[in-house]
């Protein structure tokens, strides 16, 4: 039906609307009006996607000059497919309503096999693709640089956006990378000498172009046509490519030298950590490589590859990586760190040197996005605490809001289990996590839950290693065997692809009985299950040097204390895990936090509002027995027949209900900044 959102007529393709969707659209409209950025949190399963789509499409139709394009970024391929599905529904509705030909063009770019770089993208009104297309400088350059300034960018499922940003700007170099790079260099050399014999003019032409410099790109940027590439800093564009790497042979020689230097650096026996200026100084002293040519590395390589007409770029991934590294390391003084580790911490005897060039500041990657587009919306089911995202991404939002889920019945049941039946505190704190009593209590909790929860249970552990330890010890204590009498056990591997593969294969078994426990340590690729148990607080591995460097940086640059960030990170992870228990309003699920530390205000306060709301004093610091009692009661209550009529007027509204005065008042309370 048609809705009036603050003066904007919005077509909504469903007969009913959730109150929070209406509220969400109001906030969204406000953000677009102000041409600013927004951070919006709304629980999963309440129709975020369709609210976003229908409002922005309506906005585009109403003010075609203000907003020309919607860029919708999601994380994974299935999520993108879901968005496309919703979009189709909306478009069908539009065609039905107006009976006119739809002139909207929507485009989805999902995986590589669907990759499209057709200029058509410039004319599409809606573009749906993965984060990387916008954030990863390597891909963004190909796909996104010509997107119009008056676009609205939406990052859906953005709770991990800072990590995506960091990953896109970080480079890890192993010995293997260098070896492959070596072969790349050799291939290049051969190709060059071959071309020289056959088509010397081509190289000559390239040389001439490089002398002229990258003025072309510069003009483009000044006229504001392109999205600026963070890898390609402004200064470069004003200069010509330095003479030392202008000819192809010289460049290859240059790369060779750089490569040798890196190889030498990897030959170490102790951990080295240094800043980018230190690294540059060292490289200048050792092999006389200046900062300037390094900066042009990425551009120069690309130009060379283009000139040599090499079709299969994938083969040259190693050297491309190195060239990116060279450009990044010479461009940014701040926000990056270089850590060279001779071996992994877990296996100190096996030499496996890695050079981590790690970005510590997520705002670097996302800055051009915020700078260029007039509205950027960051949204997810779990974004609490909301104020931290603007801080670490360094932007100023005009709207920050969290929406609760209006429910006709309390269909989620968060419980914090703090003690075993023997009153021993349950916690994954480092000092006590190997404690026999703690592990046994964790086992008992799972065993008891497996007897009362129907269908599936998903159990999360703080880390893969911890999971291995616990499961091994459960096996010895015979707990695992008892659990197996109630449920099938499915243990996820570290490889997400392998896991989803295994799930696919067993799907028949699982969907047939749906009696299984999944052990997992990362937000799931699947969501079967009536209960989610999080064992311990999923803190990241704090001994990692990269993390330490990042925490230090956050403290110095953004005044975020280490502990605050760690807790924030752990809680968003936990929230993400338990958030999967519920897929929609008619669904229900138990959320069990098995660690006494969750009961503390600093942890609890960082959970999303829609979970916190249902966390009463009666559900804190429970024993296993109490949990079983509460869980049993909850499951029975929820199994009672629940029809759509019960929701109507409370959590599901028709148009008339929506327009009533007191409902509008209620809706005003849903959003909370």
């Amino acid at each position: 039906f048609r809705l009036n959102i603050d003066g904007l007529l919005v077509c909504f393709p469903y007969d009913y609307i959730y109150p929070e969707q209406y509220s969400y659209m109001l906030e969204l409209k406000r953000t677009l009006d102000a041409k600013g950025h927004g951070v919006l949190e709304m629980p999963s399963g309440t129709g975020k996607t369709i609210s976003l789509l229908s409002l922005i499409v309506a906005y585009q139709k109403a003010y075609p000059l203000e907003v020309t394009k919607l860029i919708y970024c999601s994380r994974t391929v299935p999520e993108i497919e879901k968005v496309v599905e919703e979009l189709k529904k909306l478009m069908d509705y539009y065609t039905k309503q107006t009976e006119a030909k739809n002139d909207f063009l929507a485009l989805a770019l999902s995986s590589r096999k669907n990759l499209c770089i057709h200029p058509e993208i410039l004319h599409a009104n809606i573009v749906v693709y993965s984060y990387n297309y916008l954030l990863d400088p390597k891909i963004a350059d190909l796909v996104s640089k010509e997107l119009a300034k008056k676009s609205v960018v939406v990052f859906d499922e953005a709770h991990n956006i800072d990590n995506v940003c960091i990953d896109s700007m970080s480079v890890n170099i192993t010995r293997r990378t260098l070896d492959r790079c070596q072969t790349n260099v050799e291939t290049l050399q051969n190709t060059i000498s071959r071309i020289k014999e056959t088509d010397a003019a081509k190289l000559q032409e390239e040389y001439r172009r490089l002398v002229e410099g990258l003025t072309e790109a510069n003009v483009a940027r000044e006229t504001d046509m392109y999205l600026s590439n963070p890898v390609l800093p402004d200064e470069i564009l004003q200069e010509a490519v330095p003479g030392s790497i202008r000819t192809a042979e010289h460049f290859v020689g240059f790369m060779k030298r750089f490569l040798e230097y890196l190889k030498a650096r990897l030959r170490i026996h102790h951990v080295v950590q240094e800043s980018t200026p230190q690294f540059l100084k060292d490289i200048y002293e050792k092999v006389c490589i200046d900062r300037k040519p390094l900066r042009f590395c990425a551009e120069r390589l690309r130009s060379l590859l283009r000139t040599l007409e090499i079709a299969d770029i994938a083969d040259f991934s190693a050297i491309t990586l190195i060239s990116h590294f060279a450009t990044l390391v010479s461009t940014y003084n701040k926000g990056f760190t270089i850590i060279i580790e001779p071996f992994e911490d877990r296996t100190p005897t096996i030499a496996n040197p890695v050079l981590h060039f790690s970005c510590m500041d997520p705002s670097i990657a996302i800055k051009p996005v915020f700078g260029r587009f007039q509205s950027v919306i960051i949204t997810s089911g779990t974004l609490s605490p909301l104020d931290i995202y603007p801080r670490i991404l360094d932007f100023r939002p005009v709207t920050v809001a969290s929406f609760t889920m209006t429910l006709a019945r309390t269909c989620l049941c968060p419980l914090i289990v703090g003690r075993g039946n023997d009153q021993v505190a349950m916690t994954s704190k480092f000092e006590t996590r190997e404690d026999f009593a703690v592990i046994r209590n964790y086992g008992n909790l799972l065993l008891e839950m497996s007897a009362i929860v129907p269908d599936g249970i998903v159990a999360f552990f703080t880390s893969y290693i911890y999971m291995e330890n616990i499961v091994a010890s459960w096996y010895e204590q015979g707990i695992l065997e008892n659990i197996q009498r109630n449920k099938l056990i499915f243990i996820e591997t570290q490889d997400a692809a392998e896991t989803s593969m295994a799930l696919m294969l067993n799907k028949n078994k699982i969907s047939c009985k749906r009696l299984f426990i999944s052990f997992s340590f990362q937000p799931p690729v699947h969501h079967y299950g009536r209960a989610v148990i999080v064992f311990g607080v999923p803190y990241v591995y704090t001994q990692s040097r990269i993390l330490k460097a990042r925490l230090e940086y956050l403290r110095d640059q953004f005044q975020i204390r280490e502990n605050d960030f760690l807790t924030f990170d752990a809680m968003r992870h936990a929230a993400q895990c338990v958030g999967r228990a519920i897929r929609g309003k008619t669904d229900y699920g138990l959320m069990i936090f098995a660690d006494k530390r969750y009961a503390r205000a600093d942890k609890r306060g960082k959970l999303p509002r829609w979970i916190q709301e249902h966390l009463t004093d009666g559900s804190l610091n429970l024993t296993i027995d109490e949990t079983v009692q509460l869980g049993k009661h909850f499951l029975r209550q929820m199994a009672q027949p629940f029809r759509q009529e019960d929701q109507l007027g409370l959590s599901l509204l028709t148009l008339e209900q929506l327009q009533s005065e007191d409902m509008l008042q209620k809706i005003a309370q849903i959003a909370q900044a």
């Binding site: 309390t410 129907p454 449920k487 027949p641």
Partner: protein, 392 residues
């Protein structure tokens, strides 16, 4: 069954419920409590029964009782199995009371096997005896939904098409051990027009949801013992017949009860035909019901004649199942604030305190919620109307 409803005993429900209830009160009007929803559902049921629908009066029902390990759980007192069997006895009696021309059979499942306790039969005595015997058996292993459904299906598929074929599963376990793909079986059941309903004792299990949805049955999970009883009693009422089932006339005999006194010289004690296959009971009786077709003697009704196959019923039996076809009109619901008049219930004479009151459309008498349910579920006639009928 005249004890006060289980839900009132808070100390048995566990300490957690006291603040649970408090919380629901505090949370204001936004969240309706589950109890409220339940109440609405209860009312709805009364209304649902009032369409002009064809009912499957001749029912063939198999009750599958889970007797696996989980039945030893003590959340029903003294344990799930004993409680279930007690309610089943009540159910069987009630079932034959309301459905005199129907049959019932009982299957138990444990240890991955299904065992037929009693075959389809129209005589409650045999079932009750069998149920009594099961009480002492131990609960072991896992149930097998597939096997037990299969056993029931093997018998039901031979039943004539005009009868209503039903299976009621009382399922306590959260797991089932199936030898083959149960979804295939569900398809077969659907094709045979067998309706499967499930009453869950612990929680909602997905396979049961699918099973009931596909076959058109109902799926409920109990809250406590009184709710369990309520759910079980729902299955006493005959379900609407599927429109595709054929109609046919059924021959029935209405035998007269012949009473012979001991003083009567001509009276000779004789065996009842129904004693032919049951052993141990004293067989010789004086009077009885004689089949109008073949003069075979039976001591109780309803029964299918062993000799000529005629269905023997008594007229009151048949009349009793009549109210299913012509149920009492639903009472009109009005909120208490809007109701003007004397605030006591016509039936129980108690004060009207609930949110709404119910008015009989015929006699304009007013009733409370509990009485409204009692009148519609049990009495099947309005006491107000009865009174006015008599006085006029």
């Amino acid at each position: 069954m005249d004890e006060e409803p289980e839900r009132a005993k808070r100390w048995e429900g566990g300490y957690e419920r006291t603040w649970e209830v408090l919380k629901e009160d505090e949370s204001g009007s936004l969240k309706a409590t589950v109890e409220d929803i339940l109440f609405q559902a209860k009312r709805k049921r009364v209304f649902e029964g009032h369409g002009q629908v064809r009912l499957g009066m001749m029912r063939h029902l198999f009750v599958i009782i889970d007797s696996s390990r989980s039945m030893e759980d003590q959340d029903l007192k003294p344990n799930r199995l004993t409680s279930t069997l007690k309610l089943m006895e009540f159910f069987v009696e009630e079932y034959f009371d309301q459905n005199p021309i129907s049959q019932i059979g009982i299957i138990t499942t444990k240890n991955k096997r299904a065992e037929k306790l009693t075959d389809l039969a129209g005589n409650p005595k045999k079932h009750l005896a069998a149920l009594k015997k099961v009480v002492d058996s131990t609960c072991v292993g896992e149930p097998s939904l597939y096997n037990s459904l299969n056993v029931a299906m093997q018998t039901l598929k031979h039943m004539p098409a005009h009868t209503s074929k039903e299976i009621l599963v009382i399922f306590s376990s959260l797991t089932t051990c199936d030898p083959a793909n149960i979804y295939e079986l569900i398809k077969t059941l659907n094709a045979l027009k067998i309706r499967v309903s499930v009453i869950g004792l612990s929680a909602e299990v997905r396979v049961c949801t699918i099973l009931t949805r596909e076959t058109g049955g109902s799926y409920n999970v109990i809250l406590d013992e009184s709710h369990f009883k309520e759910l079980l009693m729902l299955h006493v009422k005959p379900p609407p017949a599927s429109s595709s089932s054929e109609c046919s006339l059924i021959r029935m005999g209405f035998p007269q009860h012949v009473i012979a006194s001991m003083s009567d010289q001509d009276a000779k004690p004789s065996f009842s035909m129904s004693h032919l296959d049951s052993t141990g009971e004293p067989g010789l009786t004086l009077g009885g019901y004689y089949c109008p077709q073949c003069r075979a003697k039976y001591t109780e009704l309803p029964v299918e004649c062993k000799v000529c196959g005629l269905t023997l019923v008594s007229a009151p039996h048949l009349a009793r199942s009549f109210h299913h076809l012509f149920p009492l009109e639903a009472f009109q619901e009005t909120p208490l604030e809007e109701y003007e008049g004397e605030r006591f219930c016509e039936a129980c004479q108690g004060e009207l305190k609930d949110k709404s009151v119910f008015t009989c459309l015929a006699c304009k008498k007013v009733f409370c919620v509990e009485c409204d349910l009692f009148i519609h579920d049990t009495l099947h006639c309005c006491p107000g109307c009865m009174q006015t009928d008599r006085t006029s």
